[in-house]
Symmetry: C2
Subunit: 338 residues, 2 copies
């Protein structure tokens, strides 16, 4: 089979590799129905994050179980499943606390930009849909594998309450689904920080009431202006840079909350500034597994359509073009069909 | 009158100055019944925090209202009052949200190590006791002006729940009252991190179930050992150094909470480590004013005795010896009587 490999900055190749096989008895092999390119894939793609070369790429997936290991109990061949980018046993104390991405046995699931994927800890990681879905649900179900769960976690970590005023830093797929999540949680005012027209449109469709195009300290000043100098109750930080993180912290009212899900790259927080900001800070790799059952239900019942973030669909063999389009911000998120 | 002034590192003088007078109509003048030396006074005393020289010292106070400005409505002369180290209007949005120490009109109250003190925004800042208290309550009432409210905020910020396992980093007065606060909030296991015998004793009296004497990464390893490798639910960080902050974060289980109230000095938090730690972080200058009514009630009803942290009592004119004793860790906290 052929899959996507990163050889170096902007050197993404689609090439032959061995099909995955069961290694541990708790593994499953999934035949990918749809996969995609993640905003976080762009960090190594842009050379901003070291990775071994070549690295098999892709960590968002859904599809049909092809084969299971001898120890797998709750998942069976033929089921349509969705899993998280971190495999988790769903039984350890951290999983019980709802932090599956800190599972004591967590294992990164890489190489999903391929027709077949090995998923470790299948019982703990994969959640099956009620039946094999109609194809048109696939994009939204795929979004639950990472971006929708991550946007949802950002809103939870930012403690979004009904009636709240919320700002979202970052207009990538996660930020946009953060807007949707804030809306689902009953936020009254949702300020999307974006200077890209197509993304602003989708943000509004998902529930944004205001758009702020300014960034950094100017963005903070705009938010303060809009809130009588107070700041917002909750900020969803969905980028991961020093600038975006400080923009989030400084836009929040004392006692408010920042939920941060952009993987920090080179971020250093000054203790004294954080102390006097009086914000609550919570984030990390989203425990997507925790949210899968409920979010699958919502997609299944056509209550949410997070798959709208995919504005480019390509056959898997065009994966390199999918990266290029996102790198150049021509696409929000690329869906790939094997 | 005479009051305490810091002229430079370890140069604390008790000398003549003009008695304070009403400046704004919202001011009150309080005749100090008892005052004390704060752990945070030791930062500038040790030369670890720049301050103008000479600086009038002291920010913890209780006493009898001597005089009020023409605009003061809820406080009257003759009342026994307690206030916070930050004056607050108790009406702005940040006060309404419970973050009085981020009040839009906050003003630091300095110079309490003296017989008389000017308190700005008296209506918003001062809380009167039901009547003038019996003298033996004074130390515990004084403790509410800062250390008890700060320990309580640490426990709130660390989200201490009934049945929780809690660690407290720092065995100063705030850390010890953090132990008491965790106990009052129903924590089942309270691990005090201390290597000082007298402080360990008081920690146990306040409710500590375990003592850990190791510090930094060794302290973290001990905590992990004691919790099956999981970490604790809540950590109260009551020091403010890089070491203590990292000790707190690394001792917390994923999804757990760090409440930090030690004023950070030179603390820098690495975004990536914080992200993957999955901890909740909240802290800042404790909004002591929020807690005064309830904590006064508890002291008044003899339910708590936070004044036990005072293990040295001196006449105010011996204030320099009070600083020395705390600097050399001969005393936990020095009470001063004008």
């Amino acid at each position: 089979m052929r899959g996507a490999f990163l050889y170096g900055p902007r050197d993404l190749r689609f090439e032959e590799r061995a099909a995955p096989t069961i290694i541990a008895p708790t593994d499953a092999i999934v035949r990918i129905s749809v996969t995609c390119v993640c905003g976080s894939d762009l960090w190594p793609y842009r050379g901003l994050q070291a990775s071994p070369e070549p690295t098999p790429m892709g960590h968002e997936y859904c599809g049909i179980v092809e084969e299971i290991g001898s120890g797998v109990r709750t998942v069976r061949a033929g089921q349509f499943v969705i899993g998280s980018f971190f495999a988790s046993d769903n039984t350890c104390p951290h999983c019980h606390a709802g932090y599956h991405t800190s599972c004591q046995h967590r294992e990164f699931v890489g190489g999903a930009q391929a027709p077949l994927l090995r998923v470790p800890l299948a019982d703990g990681t994969l959640v099956a849909t009620p039946e094999v879905p109609a194809g048109e649900l696939n994009p939204s179900l795929l979004a639950l594998s990472d971006v929708m769960g991550t946007g949802w976690f950002a809103a939870e970590a930012a403690n979004v309450k009904p009636g709240a005023t919320v700002a979202v830093v970052g207009d990538g797929a996660v930020g946009l689904l953060g807007v949707l999540s804030a809306k689902l949680k009953g936020a009254e005012r949702i300020i999307a920080m974006s200077h890209h027209e197509a993304r602003q449109r989708l943000a509004r469709e998902f529930g944004a009431t205001d758009i702020v195009t300014e960034r950094a300290d100017e963005g903070v000043a705009r938010i303060k202006d809009m809130t009588n100098g107070i700041g917002v109750d909750s900020v969803l930080e969905c980028v991961g840079t020093q600038e975006s993180m400080m923009q989030a912290i400084r836009s929040t009212r004392p006692g408010g909350s920042v939920g941060y899900v952009g993987v920090p790259h080179g971020v250093e927080l000054n203790g004294e500034e954080l102390f006097f900001s009086h914000v609550h800070l919570h984030g990390g790799p989203a425990p997507v597994r925790r949210y899968l059952p409920k979010l699958i239900e919502q997609v299944w019942d056509r209550k949410i359509n997070p798959g709208k973030v995919f504005d480019l669909t390509l056959p898997l063999e065009k994966v390199a073009e999918g990266y290029r389009a996102m790198d150049e911000r021509r696409a929000i998120k690329t869906l790939l069909r094997p």
